[in-house]
Structures are given as C-alpha cells and as structure tokens.
C-alpha cells in the first residue's frame, strides 16, 4: 500500500429513488442528462483519486458541481451510491456505526462554511465539545480546548458566546474545534467563503501557517480559483459531478486539459502563481549568464532581473546546485503568451 491516506475508486453519488438501479444499468457510464430525465440528480460522477499523507488537495468547482457532495461521501455524512473509499487502508463503506463514530472521534476533523457552532455553548465549550463527546473528563477537555484557543489566537475570548463574535472569529472557533481531537485528516468545506475579502486573506495566511506546523492530510473545498491556487498542493476541478482535471496548480495553469478549465486559468496572473521551477528548462544548462535565481521564487519576484539579461539565467536549488536554466524570452512567453485575447 502506498502512503495515500484517502483513496477513492470510482465513487458515484446519485440522488433519487431509482439511483441504485439506474447506476447498475448504466455500467458506469453516467450521463447526467438522462439521469435527470428519470428523476435522479448526479452529485458525484466516477471520482477516483488519492490524497497522500500531509498533502493538501483542494477541490474547486462552482455551486452545484458536486464538490461538497464528494466531501460528504468521504466523511460519510452521506453514503456513496457505489465505489470504494479507503481511509488509511480501511474500507470506509464497510464500517459499522460504532466503528464510524470511532473513526470520526479520533481521525477526522471538519470545518463548515456557516461555522456550525453550537449557539448555547461558549467558545471554549464549543472547542471542548468533540472531546467531551469522546468521554474525556470536563476539566481535561477544557484545558486541552484552551490550548486550541491559543493556537487560533482567540485568547481572552474563550468565554464569549458565538453570537458575540465576528465571522472570522467564529470560523477560528470552528477550526479550533475541528483540530481539538488532533485528527490526521482535516476536511474544510468552503471555510472562508462566508467571510469578507480582507478577513478571508488573513484567514488563508493563518491557515497556511497552521498547516506548516501541523502537516495534516487535507481536503479543502472552495469555489474560489485564486484561493485554490494559493493553498493547494494539488487541485481537482469539478464540473457536473465529474473531476475535469486533477493536477498541481502550475500544471493546471500551463496545461488546462479541457475548455472549462482553460476559462478559469485565462484571468490568472501567471507571474504570481508560477514558480521559476515550473517554467525552467532542465536540459539546457550551458552558456548561462552570471545571474542565478532560486527555483522556488515566483516569476513576479525575479522577472525584472531575468529580463535585464541577454543570455539564459541559471536556476539553482537550496544547495546552490544548478538544476536548470531560464531564458528571458521564456518569461515573456509565459506571462503574455497563449492568451485568447492577445492576438
């Protein structure tokens, strides 16, 4: 078994009374339109992928694309109609109720778009809730929850009620609650979508800081392509229940596999998203200029320096070893080339 923590094989989720039978008859070739004519709605259509340990997979799609349904299949808040889902090698769909509750109490945490805090409990009680449900003593759970309060930067507000907090603060509570049991797998369902743009950016940075520290295996749902580019190790783009493309942010921007994906990438400022590593030439390392750039820099940061050179520039890694080269023209082509409106 590889080191994949989440593994999905041909997962289908179809809503409707005749869903099971229609799926059997279709032999895995599901056409959303014919299903809809028969009163069935296709939520997830043949999803197969793996998420490695410590990896962040961002599932991106517009509303109704089935991204939340996919997440709910994997957290088994809803049962997939067919297919296999493995969590750390365990067959999720074969677990009985007790085993499922155990799995959720120890391995999984989830954050919700509307925060979903319990209105009758204070911040610290909300965070301690999953611990108390597990049967941990009240005092231990509260002290553990206080650590979480500090982790998300809400010290001094632990005795507030959710109604007394701003949206961003409420979501910090939601994040702290989902982390309280120290889960290995972290599900986030559009956690920042209900927040103002400025707060959203702040929370994204905070989230990246947390992930650096905690190294969880993450499935992150969003409808915001920029957010996906900013956070993801890999992005899955969904449309009508189908995963259109699953790849690294750079590959999606550079090589969109379908017309639908290309539309998202059109407006993306590539110099901000792509790293030198993504566009460098690995084979040609002769005849370089004096200038050296790190492979992990974004194009935006070093473009000016590179464009001032006549020859290709050396690209080095952290050990100062040359791993490739990049030509000034390549920078210009990458940033301005291949766009629909660029004549």
């Amino acid at each position: 078994m590889s080191n994949s923590v989440i593994k999905c094989e041909n997962v289908f989720k179809i809503f409707g009374a005749k869903a099971k039978k229609m799926l059997q008859d279709s032999n895995g070739n599901v056409d959303a339109k014919t299903f809809q004519e028969n009163g069935c709605i296709v939520g997830v259509n043949n999803a197969s992928f793996e998420v490695a340990k410590g990896e962040m997979l961002v599932v991106m799609g517009l509303s109704g694309s089935g991204k939340s349904t996919l997440l709910r299949c994997i957290s088994r808040l809803t049962d997939a109609t067919s297919g296999k889902i493995y969590i750390e090698g365990q067959d999720l769909l074969k677990l009985n109720n007790k085993e499922l509750i155990d799995l959720r109490r120890n391995k999984m945490g989830m954050v919700f778009q509307s925060f979903a805090l319990l209105p009758h409990k204070t911040v610290v009680e909300n965070i301690a809730f999953p611990l108390q449900i597990k049967g941990i003593e009240i005092e231990d759970s509260i002290s553990k929850a206080m650590d979480m309060v500090k982790l998300v930067g809400l010290e001094g507000r632990e005795n507030y009620f959710p109604r007394e907090l701003s949206g961003g603060q409420q979501q910090r509570v939601g994040i702290a609650r989902s982390l309280a049991v120290e889960p290995d797998i972290w599900f986030l369902d559009e956690p920042f979508s209900a927040l103002d743009p400025l707060i959203r950016k702040e929370m994204q940075d905070e989230f990246l800081r947390l992930q650096e520290k905690l190294q969880k295996t993450i499935m992150f749902i969003t409808h915001d392509f920029d957010e996906a580019l900013k956070l993801a190790d890999r992005i899955a783009i969904m449309k009508d229940g189908i995963i259109e493309q699953l790849d690294t942010p750079a590959n999606i921007v550079l090589n969109p596999s379908t017309e639908y994906v290309r539309k998202f990438t059109e407006e993306v400022p590539r110099e901000k998203v792509l790293l030198i590593e993504d566009v460098m030439d690995k084979s040609d390392i002769k005849d370089l200029s004096e200038l050296k750039v790190f492979k992990d820099e974004t194009i935006e940061n070093v473009a000016e320096k590179i464009l001032s050179q006549d020859k290709a520039v050396a690209v080095i890694d952290g050990n100062n070893k040359i791993v490739g080269s990049i030509n000034p023209t390549k920078i210009i082509n990458t940033v301005f080339g291949g766009r629909k409106n660029s004549n």
Partner: protein, 654 residues
C-alpha cells in the same frame, strides 16, 4: 328537516362510540390484578385497570404539590399511613406561608428577566393573597404545575419521535390537525367516561389539548436546526443520543420553550373549562359565580386567573428568550445568590408566620394564609356597578339588543337555515375546486358530508351563522385598527402588546364583562366572540403589513407614491396572504368562543355538547359534535391555506 337536507345517515356513530367505549371499559380483555386493599387478586378489564392506575398517579401528583402550597396530610399519608401521622404529630406538615411563595415567585422572575417582572410577580401574589383568593389560586397553580410539565414531556417525546420517523409524523398529522380546531369542551365528555370526575381527569384532558401544539413546535424547532450544525455534531463523533440531546435540542431551545409557553396558556384555558368536570380552583369559583349571576365574584376570580396567566406567560417567554449565561469564573455567592435569597425568604416567612400566630388571636393567621372569604372583596362594588349600568342604560342596551336580534341576526340565521344541504355542499365543493383543484374539492366535500349526514346539520348551521357574524365584524375592526396602528411604529408595538395580553386571558374570562353589560342573550355571546376573534385579526394585519420588504417600500416611495397609494398598491397586495392566515385564526377563535358561549345559552352545537356532559350516553354525542365543529374549522382552514400557498408562490414570497 327542510327540503334538500341529507338524511342523518351517521346517526349510528355516537351510539357506536358509546358502545365501543363501554365495551372497552367493562368487558374487553379481563385480567387478574393484585389489589392492595383486599390483599387478593381481582379480575378487571385491562382498560379500566389502566385508567384507574393513571388516575391514582395523577391524583397523587396533584395532592403532592397542593400539600406543599397549601399544607395537608395526604402526601405524607400516601408515603406512610394514617397511624404514622397519628403517632407523630410533627408530620402534620403545614403548607408554605403565602409570603414565601410570593418571595419565591419574585426571585424566580428576577432570575429570568429582571426587576420589572420580579415586581409584577410579587404584586400579583400579594394581590391574590390580600383579596382572599389564595386557596383556589394555589389549587389552580398545583393543577397547572402537574399538567404543564406532563404535557411538555409527552409533547417533546412525540415531537422527537415524529422528527426521527416519517411514519410517526404521518400518523400524528391528522390528529394534530383535528385537535387544533376541536373545541376543548368536546374532549371533556369522553374523558369523563374514561377517568371520572375530578382534578386528575382535568389534568388528562388538559394534556390531550396541550400536547398537540407542543409536538408542532418541537417539530418546527428541530426542523429549523441548520443541517451544517447536525453535520458538525456527527463529525464530532456524536452517536444518535448525543446528537439529539447535546446538539439538536439545545439548538432548537427557543422554539421548544415557545412550546412550553403555549402549553402553559392552554393549561390556563383548560383550568376553567375543566371545572365542568369537577376540577377545583379559580375556574370552579368562576363558574359557580357565573351560574349564580354574581358578576362581582366572577370578576374577581377571572382577574386572578388572568393575572396568574399573564405572569406565567411572561415568565416562560423570558425563559425562552433568555440567553444562557456563562458561570465559569463566578464566586460561589454570585452563582447561587438567588438560591440564597430564597433561603432567607423562607426563613423570614416562617418567622413571620410564627409571630403572626401570636398576634392574630381570632383564629386566622393572616401572615400564614388569608382565608378564602376573609380577604378584601370588591364583589359588592362590581355588583352594584352592574346594577347601576342596568338601571341607567337598560333602555338603550335593550333597544340595541332588540335591533341587533330582529334586524340583523334573525334574518341572517333564517337565511343560513333555509339553505338546503345539497346547495351548501355544491357551494363549498365549488369553492374548493376553484381554489385548490380536485384534491381540495374532495377534502372539503368529505368534511362537509360528515356534518351533513350527522343528526345535527341545522345546529351546525346555527354555529356557522354565529361564527360568520363574529368573523365579519372582527375582521372589519381588526383590519381597520391594524392598518391605523401600522402607520406609526409605537402604536403598532403597543397594539401587538395589547393583543399579547388579551390572548393570555383564558377564553372563559371574556364572558364575564359581556354578561355584565348585556345579560344572558345571544348578543352577549356574539360580543364575546367579536372581542376574542378581533385579536388575531388585528395581530395578523399588523404583522402582514410589517412583513412587506423594506426595499419595496423604498422603491414605492421613490416612485413618488403618497401614503394611501403605497398602502393600496404595494402593502395590501403583498401583506394579503399573511392577513388571510389571520382570517384563518380569526375563524378558529370565533368558533371556540361560539361553543363556549353555550354556557350563556345558545342553540347551536355547543349547547348540545354541554348537554352531553350530563348525559350518561354523552361520550359519543359529545365527541361527534366536537368533530363536527372541528370539521367546520378545517373546511375553512383547508380553503384558506391552499389559497395562501398559491398566492404566496405567485408573489414569490415563500
């Protein structure tokens, strides 16, 4: 029977219900039961045994609370024996002095809401005591303290069951629907057969009436819990039990507590009505006074029961709206200060009562309990007032009465009665078809046929005619008052407050002032109906007008409409569906009051229900009559709701 009426094909139904009840009670499934008194097994039918068991439990609970509030022996005897009490004189427990109950009520009110309510609670209790209504008030209170929690538990339980299981919900739904429009009178008779006469039977009837709204509000509250909160609970690893009691119910807390408020209000209403089957307390005194035409005494009892009702209403609403406080780092004193205050109050109260026993030598310790007929009484004053009104205005009242009866009521009544049943049926079914299509038409047809085929079609018409008259006048008044009050935010709030308070009065109380003014005539009943039914008409008019979105309001203003144009072109059309729901409530309220009006003496279905109370075969008749009234209500309910739903969809304001 006039031309075109249906034959009373359902005449067998009441008799069948009677026979079935008799069979259930006296013959079905005899079993052996252990009898404590005779120390032997005895054969008894199962249902009889069950009802007797329920009876004894209820009686015990009521006695227990009554003993605490009023003093007595029965509870201690129930736990021990008469011999024990005889040999241990200390066991003769006195009740709580009224000072302690008053202080307790004030402290509880303070905890729930603050100084204002605490002052009100204290004053109500002092008033009750000073005016010599302590004993019946505490009897009523003990009745409510048993009936309300039991109704709450059953309602919550059934509500949860219906939420979890669609089949339970489907089974409960028709019962809930009928119970909402069933006059409370009608339940009295079958309960009389099953449980006999007394406080325990009253508690059971109250539960039958109070549980349905509790179920509905529990369902409503649980349904309103956001799905993400439920998912968050599941992802926290809740099992089903934890999910229900730690996530769903606390989140739905507010709706559930509104249900508690409803339960308490129904309990008060029933506290009076169940006096018909021998429940003690204020209701009994009220009925007795009304029977003797002692308006003054009736007014005092009615005022007392209304005051307690308002108090408990405010307290339960304060509880519902109260946000939970966090007690994390408060000191012991701060956390328990209300309990400490209550302890001090108990201590002072006992000392005062003890000192009082030396001071008042005539046999009545006023610091312990003011006896029933020894308080201040204003009855004479009111009675004289009534006499004065009669002497002074007799001619005018009489003239008004005669005019109303001869010129308006008689012709209207004749018109209703002359209408052939078949024609009425066609009219109602036609309306159903136009409003809601075939489905609606079939439902109303079924409901109407039931009434038409029962032996009381003409009485049902009399009920309908009285209710119609009441509804028309109520709607005109409510609509006008509501619209006028809506023009100003303060007057609208004031009006809603007035509606709240009027709605808290037990329905029977409305009969007192009208009897005072108009004596025992149809006019009295109709005026009570109008006053009572105007409440929902006014409330829904204001709420409907308020529900019009501000954006539309602004848009209309920017289009340059004047106030009148805005009212007629924007606000009325949009508020109309909500106002129609108000009409629905107005009809239900009017029907209830018409039926209760039987007490004054009408000639409609209500009168027959009242008669059934003293009939040994009354159970079947009472229940069938009750169903008839419920069906009248449901016919209008179905038509109006279907119309409102269509209209709302059309306007896009769901």
């Amino acid at each position: 029977m006039s031309f075109g009426d249906c034959p009373p094909l359902l005449g067998w139904l009441p008799i069948w219900i009677n026979d079935s009840l008799f069979f259930l009670m006296n013959e079905w499934l005899p079993m052996e039961f252990w009898n404590e008194d005779t120390q032997s097994y005895k054969t008894r039918p199962l249902v009889l045994q069950i009802t007797r068991e329920i009876t004894s439990v209820m009686t015990f609970l009521i006695e227990l609370i009554r003993d605490i509030l009023l003093g007595g022996l029965k509870t201690i005897v129930a736990f021990t024996s008469w011999d024990f009490v005889g040999s241990n004189s200390w066991a003769k427990m006195p009740g709580l002095p009224w000072t302690i109950v008053a202080a307790g009520a004030a402290i509880l009110a303070y905890q729930l809401s603050g100084k204002g309510l605490a002052l009100f609670a204290g004053l109500v209790m002092v008033y009750i005591s000073i005016f010599g209504q302590w004993k019946p008030s505490m009897q009523t209170l003990s009745f409510i303290l048993v009936a309300a929690p039991l109704s709450f538990i059953f309602g919550l339980g059934l509500g949860i069951a219906a939420f979890k299981n669609k089949r339970v919900e489907k089974a409960l739904y028709p019962i809930l629907l009928v119970m909402q429009t069933m006059p409370q009178y009608a339940v009295l008779v079958p309960a009389l057969v099953l449980f006999g006469v007394g406080d325990h039977a009253a508690v059971i009837i109250t539960m039958i009436v109070a549980v349905p709204p509790m179920i509905l509000l529990t369902l409503l509250g649980l349904r309103a819990v956001p799905p993400e909160v439920i998912e968050a609970g599941r992802m926290s690893g809740c099992n089903n039990w934890q999910l229900m009691f730690k996530v769903l119910i606390p989140t739905a807390r507010r709706d559930i507590l509104i249900g508690v408020n409803q339960v308490i209000m129904v309990c008060f209403s029933m506290a009076v009505i169940s006096a018909f089957i021998g429940a003690k307390g204020l209701g009994f005194n009220l009925l007795l006074a009304l029977n003797q035409l002692n308006i003054g005494l009736a007014l005092e009892a009615g005022l007392c029961i209304s005051l307690i009702a308002i108090l408990l209403d405010k307290m339960s609403l304060a509880w519902a709206n109260k946000q939970v406080d966090y007690f994390g780092n408060l000191s012991f004193y701060e956390r328990n200060k209300n309990a400490i205050y209550f302890g001090i109050a108990v201590f002072i109260g006992i000392i005062m009562a003890y000192l009082g026993s030396f001071y008042f030598k005539q046999g009545f310790n006023y610091l312990f309990e003011v006896p029933h007929n020894k308080g201040i009484s204003t009855a004479d004053f009111w009675n004289k007032g009534v006499d004065w009104i009669f002497d002074t205005f007799f001619v005018y009242i009489k003239a008004f009465n005669t005019w109303l009866i001869v010129e308006v009521l008689q012709p209207m009544r004749a018109l209703y009665l002359r209408m052939p049943a078949v024609a009425t049926l066609v009219l109602v079914v036609g309306a159903g078809y136009l409003i809601g299509g075939v489905r609606s038409a079939l439902v109303v047809c079924g409901l109407t046929l039931f009434i038409a085929l029962s032996p009381w079609w003409d009485r049902a018409l009399v009920t309908t005619y009285m209710a119609t008259f009441g509804v028309i006048v109520s709607c005109i008044i409510g609509f006008t008052v509501g619209t006028l009050c809506f023009q100003n935010k303060h007057s609208a709030n004031f009006m809603l407050g007035v509606c709240d308070i009027f709605q808290t009065f037990p329905s029977f109380v409305y009969l007192i002032p009208v009897m005072m003014l108009f004596g025992i005539t149809d006019t009295s009943v109709l005026i009570a109906v109008i006053v009572y039914a105007t409440i929902p008409a006014t409330r829904y008019t204001i709420e409907g007008l308020r529900s019009v979105p501000t954006a539309l309001h602004d848009a209309a203003t920017m289009s340059g409409v004047n106030k009148f144009q805005r009212l007629t072109k924007i606000e009325f059309p949009l508020a109309f569906p909500h106002m129609m729901l108000g009409l629905n409530q107005t009809i239900v309220f009017a029907l209830f009051m018409v039926i209760i009006g039987a007490f004054i003496g009408t000639e409609d279905l209500g009168q027959y229900i009242l008669k059934a109370l003293s009939d040994k075969n009354g159970a079947g008749i009472g229940l069938t009559l009750g169903i008839c009234v419920a069906f009248i209500g449901l016919i209008f309910d179905n038509l109006i709701r279907t119309y409102v739903q269509k209209r709302k969809k059309h306007l896009g304001i769901d």
